[in-house]
Each structure stands twice: as C-alpha cells, then as structure tokens.
Assembly symmetry: C2
Homo-oligomer: 184 residues x 2
Amino acid sequence: MELSPTAYVILGMISREPRSGYEIKALVDNTTRFFWAASYGQIYPQLKRLSEAGLVAGSDAPRGERKRTVYAITAEGRRELEDWLRQPPQTVEMREEGLLKLFFAGVLPPEEAAETLRSMHAYRRDIAARLRSMEPDAEEKLAQDDPFPLIVLQGGIEFNEWFADWCERMEARLLDPARRERSS
Amino acid sequence: MELSPTAYVILGMISREPRSGYEIKALVDNTTRFFWAASYGQIYPQLKRLSEAGLVAGSDAPRGERKRTVYAITAEGRRELEDWLRQPPQTVEMREEGLLKLFFAGVLPPEEAAETLRSMHAYRRDIAARLRSMEPDAEEKLAQDDPFPLIVLQGGIEFNEWFADWCERMEARLLDPARRERSS
DNA sequence: ACAGGCATGTAAATAGTTACATGATTCG
DNA sequence: CGAATCATGTAACTATTTACATGCCTGT
C-alpha cells in the first residue's frame, strides 16, 4: 500500500483517540505544522480515501444538533502506521527564503544584507517564544506516557534558538570585517 | 511584478555572470538545494518567461558544435532582484519525515523508536560531512569578494552538526529513562 | 444580534516532480 | 567504443494552497 505522508499524519493523529477532520487540522496546526503541514484540502479527501481503504472507520458523533464525523484507526490502519514508523525516514525538504536571500545578499551593500539577518533573527526568536509557550501542553502529554511530543517540541525550541543565535553572530561578523575568520 | 521564488533563484544565479539553464541547475544542486531546490521542469519554462518579461536576455553561446544558450540578467532584472532582496523573507517551509515519525513514535516500543533517531543522526552526520567537503569551493568565492555563500554553507554545517548531536542526546535520554529531566 | 469558533467539504489554480526524448561531446 | 556529462526541453502526473460555500452553536 502506497500512502502519502499526509495519510500517515492522519493515522498518527487518530492513533490514540478518534477525531474529526476539523480536530485533526487543529492538532496539526498546533503541533506538526512546523515540520509537516496539512490543509483541509488534503485532510478531508484523504479521510475519504483512507476510509475506503479500510484503514480508518468513520462514525457519527454529533455535538448537539451539529453533525460531526469522527474517524478511528482500524487494526489494519495501525499495522500500516507501525510499518511506516519502522522504515527509515526519507523526505527532507526545506524552503527557507531567508537563507536564499542571504545566499545572494552580496548583490546589496552590507548594511542592507544585514537587514535580512535581522528579519530572520526576529522570526526565529518569535517562533522559539511561541513554542516555549506550548511546553506545558506537551508536558501533560508526557504524563499520559507519551514522551515524544515533548521531545520534538523541545527540539524545535532548541533549533529556533540556535538559528536566532546564529543570525546574531553572522550579523556581527558581517558588520565587523575584522571578525571574518571562523570562530570554531 | 509577481515572480515565483524560483524566478529569483535564477536571477540570483546569473547576477554575476551569464549562465545556461543546465549550469543554473548544476549550481542550484551544489548550493541552494538544501534550502531551495529547483528542477529542469521549473528552470527552463521560467527562463522563457523571464526572457519574455525582459528580466533576462538569452544569447547563443555554443561550445564547439553543441548549441547552447546563456542568459544574462538585464538592468530591469537586477532591479527586480534587488527589490526582492530588500523585502523581509516570507516563505519558511519544512518537511522532515524524521521529526514526523518521532512525533508519533510512542506507538512503537522505545527500542524501535530509537531507531528513527539513529537514522536521522546518520543522515545529518553525512550531510554535514558533505557540506564540509564543499567548504574550499566557497572559500574561493569569498576571495572573489562575496562572503555570503561561505556564510550560508557554514550555517548549514553548523545546523546539521547541531541536529546530529541533538539526535544522539535524545537517543540517550530515550534509552535511559532516569535522564528524562531536561538538561538545560 | 453578532462575532467567533465548530464543522465539512469542493473547485480552481499553482507548483513541483518524474520520466522521457533527443542528440552532441569528451574522456578513458 | 561506451559511459558520463553537456544541453534543452516537454508531458503527465501528483501535490498543495487558496478561496469559497454552507450552516450550526456558544458566549457576550
């Protein structure tokens, strides 16, 4: 069975409890978005396909009068998820417009090039702060015996802090040509 | 003028000297690929569009009998490139299947979850080594008075080394539950 | 009454990859 | 001679985003 990575996001998100498409989207936006995003345009059609393939099972779960369908993972779906988790990860893609601009920044005078680094720094600092504010949430998950969301979140914090720090160091190096040699 | 980021990759790559589509692709594969990739299917059609828009100018530059077109940036193209460089970077996308698997790794027993970290570690270590081997090349560029390719490359090395190290630390933490508290 | 969140979906457009086709040249 | 590299391109497919459409429920 060849499933798209987005399909595995869905399977993973319902592996502990059944959820609606809307809830899956909200969860993704609060957790995996930073390294794997998904839109409604992917989630709802995928749920339909996974349901047809027997990897998830939908059931009506209205909230009051508002109708609602939650999807649960099936035994076959769980097998599929576990098989995927056991394969070494393949896809690694990154699109960082900041690094791209920095790469070409020699076209501009140094002061304007440094501005790119300042934007990148501010962005990474903000993301780090936002992730930090999400830590208590993930610590709850740990209490529920799943340490991984917290590990990944702390990795994200550390990464964004490293990146922000790197931007600062490179800005300093850029504005002070004497410091151009490598510090390592 | 609304250009795709790939268009700016092309403009940037020919900002110092004219190049053929083939050469642009090769350059991208050796440099920006790690944070911004481009395929022939994007490059050749883009070159045509940029040429029609007057941002680049193609001219015949055969090598022997083999015909070949190199594209040079025009004054208008350079203006466009510089304007773009002055805007704060927007696009940041990341797809890291490893982090995704790690996020859901609670589904598997710890020893199998650690295997994902080992794969990620090996991958990042190899990338770091490959980038290191590219350093002499970028140091040449610095001699040509453009420090940015080297800065970006060294950032890539540092990032991959940080990531590899993080994977090692998380594997240790995972296999030794006593160490579960945060070290910071 | 209205804003905001809950809830499900689709259509259209854009972006991007992969595979293929073609052919010349260079190096061992 | 054969393999690798230079060189240009397109077609088909897949993925993904964005915008739109619809309507209910809750709190102020």
